[in-house]
Structure formats: C-alpha cells, structure tokens
C-alpha cells in the first residue's frame, strides 16, 4: 500500500513549473513561462510568508473553484510560502470574491476588522470588481470596494488561477 503510493508519487513526478509541452498549444506554453516568472517574482518579493484569508460573501462558487486550484500541484501556492489560513487574525491579505450580498456585508466587515494591520485586500472576479451579472440590488452591495478598501482587483469570470496569482503579486508591490 505505501509502496503503491510512493510509486504513484514517483511516476507523476513534480508537476510544479512544468516544462513546456512540445505538443501543447502555443498559449499553454506561454502560460507556463508566465507562471514561472510570477512564481519567481513572488519568491523575490516575499521570501517565504504570506497568509491569506479568503472570504466568499456571495459568489456563485466559480471563483472559489479557481482559488482552490492554486493549491494543486501545478500552481503549488504553498510552495511559494503563501498559505490560506482559517482565522483573519493570522492573515496579511484578504482575498474576496463577489458580489457582496447584503447578508454577508457585516460578516465581511468584521473579518476585515479582525485582521492585523497592515492588511491588503484583493477583489476577485467580475462580481468582485463590478458586481458582475448580479449588480447591486436589495440583496447585493455589488463590488467589493463598495464595502471595503480594495488594493487590487482581478476580473474574469472566474479569473484563471494564474490571474489570481498575478493579482496577489500586484498587491504586494
């Protein structure tokens, strides 16, 4: 059993920073080069520690799927020293999807207030940036910056993991 696990791990190898696939399309290769560049830059700026608290105050869960993907071996975000934490009190950066529902407004504010300064906020996805298809209504406050001071916005519905990584990099500058 442990032997078969080890064999599988060895067979799969290290997927992080994969070499360009010769048979892959051009865009994928460019993506992978970009991915390497982003990773190196994050390491240069950051050394080995950034704690992120993620809050979904009303998203459709699409952005969450792509944020989850940052933890997969391809992006290996923990390998960069970036860690998703359970408590806002441990967090340097708040990663917020959108739109902010009226029902989540108070919880989102409280999460932000619980973070120690200095603190960064990155708004993720079309809804986080401009309310997206849901906009503002009796139930939705729309974009994240209507509720919190936002440092960086990253659009896309949802933004692919690499774009989210880029936004985190921009926030650190």
């Amino acid at each position: 059993m442990p032997w078969r696990m080890l064999r599988q791990i060895a067979r799969v190898g290290i997927l992080t920073e994969p070499a360009p696939q010769p048979d892959g399309p051009e865009s994928l290769r460019a993506d992978q080069a970009e991915q390497r560049a982003v990773r190196e830059e994050i390491l240069a700026v950051l050394g080995r520690a950034l704690a992120i608290r993620q809050v979904d105050p009303g998203s459709c869960n699409g952005c969450e799927l792509e944020i989850h993907a940052l933890n997969n071996p391809y992006y290996n975000i923990e390998g960069l020293g970036i860690k998703f934490v359970a408590s806002p009190r441990h967090a340097d950066l708040l990663l917020v999807t959108g739109p902010v529902s009226a029902h989540m407004e108070a919880a989102l504010r409280r999460t932000y207030e619980a973070m120690p300064a200095p603190k960064l906020v990155v708004a993720v996805g079309e809804c986080g940036c401009n309310g997206g298809v849901f906009g503002e209504s009796y139930a939705s406050r729309g974009r994240v910056s209507n509720v919190l001071p936002v440092d960086v916005e990253v659009g896309g519905c949802p933004p692919p993991p690499l774009e989210i990584l880029r936004a985190i990099r921009r926030a650190l500058r």
Binding site: R4, G58, L65, H68, N72, P99, H103, M104, F134, S140
Partner: protein, 498 residues
C-alpha cells in the same frame, strides 16, 4: 412534461397522489400575475417515474396570499415554502415553521422582492436580527456556532451544533447568506442575457443550469435543437460531472487526513480543466451552452484528444480508487460515517448522487432519458449504505460511466450544425428544463411576459432537498467528522440561496 392548473383542494390531493406513486417534490415557487391575470399564483414541480409534473394554483379566491401547506405530505416543502413567503409574500396556511429562510436582516419583512411593486433596486439599512434556533437542553449539552465565514475556501452559511462532548445531538442549518436576488435580477431580462445569469446560479453546475435554461426556452418556443447540439451539450455536462467528482474525491481524501488524495485528484482535475479551456474556451465551460446551441464546435482532432483523455484518466482514477479502497485509515473514516438510510432518503426526497448512494433516487439520464442519453443506455450508479463511503463509491462509478459516455459521444457525434438561430418564443408562454447535473436534478422554469422578456424565472438547485438530509446524517457522529460528511454531500449555498 405535464402542466395543469389546479384548485386548492387538488393542490393537496395531487401531493398525496404523487407521494403514493413514489414521486418526489422538486420545488415550489410563487408568481405575481396581478398585472396580467389579477392574482398571485403558486407553482409546484414534482418528479414522477413518468416525467415532470408542473401544477399551477391561481390564488383567486378569498385568500389571495395563502395556499395549502404541503409539509404534511412532503417535509422537504418546508424551506421552499419559507422562501416563497420571504420573496413573494405568499404563505403556506397553518404551516408549522413560519420563520424566515432567505430573508435575514437586510430588508424589512414587508418587502417582497418578487412582487411587481419593488424594482429590486431598493436599499435598506440592516436591521437587528435574532433568529430562533431550536435549542437542545440537558445535562452537559452545549452549542457550537460555526459560520457564516468558515475556516476554509468555502461558501458561507451558519451551522448550529448541539453537542455532548464530541457527539452531535442536533445540527441546525441557517442558509441564505449568499442570497443576491438572482430571480428578481432575471425579471424583465432578454433571453440571451438571462442565460448568463442562469449559468451563474451555482458556478460548479454552470453547464447543468445553462442547459436547463436553454431547454426551458426551447420548450417555450416548441422547437428542437439539432442532434449535434444535444450531444455537444451532453459532452459538456459529463465533463462537468467528472471535474466535480475528481475535486470532491480529492477533498474527501484531504478531510480524512490523506493529503496524497488531494494532490493526486486535483492534478487530474487541473489537467481536465485545462482541456476544457483548450477545447471549449473556458476552464469551467461557462457560457459554452447558449440558446440555440453551443458557443464553439469541437473539431475531429479535439474529439480525438477528448477520447484519449478519457482513456488515460480512467486508468489513473482506477489506480487511485484501489489505493483509497485499500487504505485502512481512509476507510475507517469513510465507512459508517454520516449515514442516510433509504427510508430517510425517501422521506426527505433526497435527490441526485447522494440519493443514489442511499439506494434510492433516480437518474434522469437513465430513467427519463432524453437526447442524447436515450441512445447511450446510461448505467445508473448505485450504492446502498448511504454513508460517506457510499457517496465516494457512487462518485467513482459515475466517473467511469461518464468517461464511457464521453468516449461514445466523441466517437458517434452526429453531423450537423452546432448552433442555430436561438428560439424566439411567443410572449406569455411558459416552459421548463430539467437536467441531471453532477449533484442532482436542476430545474429551470420560465414564464415570459407580454413583451417576450423574462417575466418570472425560477432556478432550482438539488441542494434544496439535500441540505436537510445533512442535518440528519450528522446525528450521533462526532464533530470532527462533520467536514467530511459535509464534503461527501458537497451542497451548493449559492444555488439554494439564489
């Protein structure tokens, strides 16, 4: 699909008949038809072995805002009825639970967003709120309150546990935190714009909702899309199912402290999503299903790649399943945990993948197969134990079956157009689409106004039925097993909060 008007007496009687025939309640929704017909209406959709039954009760008589309670026949009506009361101001008479469900403190109790008067753009100051949770008393009983912000990358909701030591006596859920006014937003929208909103009811089921929405439009216009379109949409739906099952199997391993599983399944999911990006232009295939067809056709080369992927993925998943099955620690956490037996599943109208893991429930792809599934003989996955292990086993079986279907569909994809002029239904009609998404049955019902725009759109996620079952599944389990049990259902918050 069968649609008929009913009277108040028939409303209750029909429920009993459906129950006696082994049918299930899918959803209930309210409609404001005062401007066109002078009254409110409440609609219900049932699933019978013979198909979808959609009943419409016009509230024309002395009680213009109340209708007969369905909870004595279908307990799963309770939350649906509370939501109808919150959004449309129509109440189930003599219902036992009249607490709000989707309305928290963000708007006043006499504001009913789905009525005609509000524009939906009103803004209110949040009120003070207290929600009467059911309290459990006794020696040593205490409460654990969790959420709405959870300790992970998860949607928001509140769970109130009553526990003794580690053991859960009772769980009460409070949802509605992600309510963002989806159905009000869709009112007055054009049909193309509505498709984009429907595709975002629950991001992990974007294909299922997109397809159900398109089916509703096609039913409204009484048109059929070309065969190739149906097949291409089914390819997307099965790809969505596989992606979600892969993600869940990884996360379930992780919740059983088996990080190897998370890394392995999520690398497979990532490769799968990259292929969706390459072939369909989007990692989640969002907006690929459009009214009249699909956004882009698949080339012969793309289809070949897709088939090769299926073969490679199946080998990998079978290997990982053998590792999961043989891992004593993982099995110790999975087996017997979070059980929902067949009787409870039937009583609560459990649906979809979770129901099939409890030995009940249908699969629209095999039981009421429309194109293209009628040509593919879908084998329904089933387990009987109703525990976490059973929901894991059903996911594995469904991945293999979806890969088989994908291979067949990529091989035999009919020739023809992949997109035609979108259906242009006449104003005033209504139609529904019903699709077996990865989580269960997704229903979209649309009523057009006299301009041919969306008058009322109701989007139903299967999580509505399955959330209450989770409350039962955790009873008697220990608190640390809750994340595992929760993940084994993986229900949508956004899809039920709307």
């Amino acid at each position: 699909m069968y649609r008929a008007p009913v009277t108040r007496a028939q409303w209750r009687a029909a429920a009993s008949v459906v129950r006696s025939l082994g049918g299930r309640l899918i959803t209930i929704w309210g409609i404001d038809r005062r401007s066109s017909a002078g009254h409110f209406a409440v609609d219900v959709a049932y699933a019978l072995n013979s198909g979808l039954v959609w009943l419409d009760l016009a509230l024309t008589d002395a009680e213009p805002t109340s209708y007969p309670d369905l909870t004595p026949t279908f307990p799963s009506a309770a939350r649906l009825q509370r939501a109808v009361a919150d959004l449309s101001g129509l109440v189930a008479s003599a219902s036992q639970d009249s607490r709000p469900w989707l309305r928290h403190a963000a708007w006043p109790e006499d504001y009913f967003p789905l009525r005609r008067e509000p524009s939906g753009r009103e803004r209110f100051e949040a009120l003070d709120e207290s929600y009467p949770f059911v309290t459990v008393t006794g020696d040593g009983v205490h409460e654990i309150a969790v959420g709405p912000v959870h300790a992970g990358i998860i949607e928001p909701g509140h769970f109130r546990f009553s526990v003794v030591g580690e053991k859960v006596l009772r769980l009460e859920q409070r949802l509605g935190y992600t309510h963002k006014g989806v159905e009000k937003r869709m009112e007055g929208m054009g049909l193309a714009q509505g498709a984009r909103v429907a595709a975002r009811v629950s991001g992990d089921s974007t294909v299922a909702f997109g397809w159900a929405y398109c089916c509703a439009l096609e039913a409204l216009a009484a048109t059929e899309v070309p065969q190739r379109v149906q097949w291409l949409r089914a390819i997307a739906l099965e790809r969505e199912r596989v992606a979600n099952h892969l993600g869940d199997l990884g996360a379930l391993g992780n919740d059983a402290a088996f990080a190897f599983g998370l890394a392995q399944f999520w690398r497979l999911r990532e490769a799968w999503q990259r292929r969706s990006q390459e072939l369909m232009g989007h990692r989640l295939m969002m907006d690929w299903v459009v009214p009249g067809g699909v956004e882009s056709d698949l080339s012969l080369e793309g289809l070949r790649t897709l088939r090769e992927d299926c073969q490679a993925l199946e080998a990998q998943v079978r290997l990982l399943q053998s590792i999961y099955d043989a891992h004593a620690g993982v099995q110790d956490r999975f087996v017997g945990t979070g059980r929902v037996d067949a009787q409870l599943a039937r009583q609560l109208n459990l649906t979809g993948m979770a129901a099939r893991a409890s030995g009940v429930g249908s699969d629209l792809r095999s039981d009421l197969a429309g194109a293209p599934y009628d040509a593919l003989q879908v084998r329904k996955a089933q387990a009987t134990e109703g525990d976490v292990a059973a929901r894991v086993a059903v996911r594995f079986a469904e991945i293999y079956e979806s890969l088989r279907l994908l291979d067949l569909m990529a091989r035999d994809l009919p020739a023809g157009a992949s997109r035609v002029v979108p259906p242009a239904p006449r104003p005033g009609g209504c139609g529904a689409g019903w699709v077996e998404g990865w989580r269960g049955e997704v229903l979209v019902a649309i009523e057009l106004d006299d301009r041919g725009l969306i008058g009322r759109a109701h989007c139903h996620d299967p999580s509505w039925q399955n959330w209450p079952a989770l409350e039962h599944a955790v009873i008697g389990n220990i608190v640390p097993d809750f994340p595992l049990i929760n993940k084994s259902f993986n229900l949508s918050y956004s899809g039920q909060d709307l």
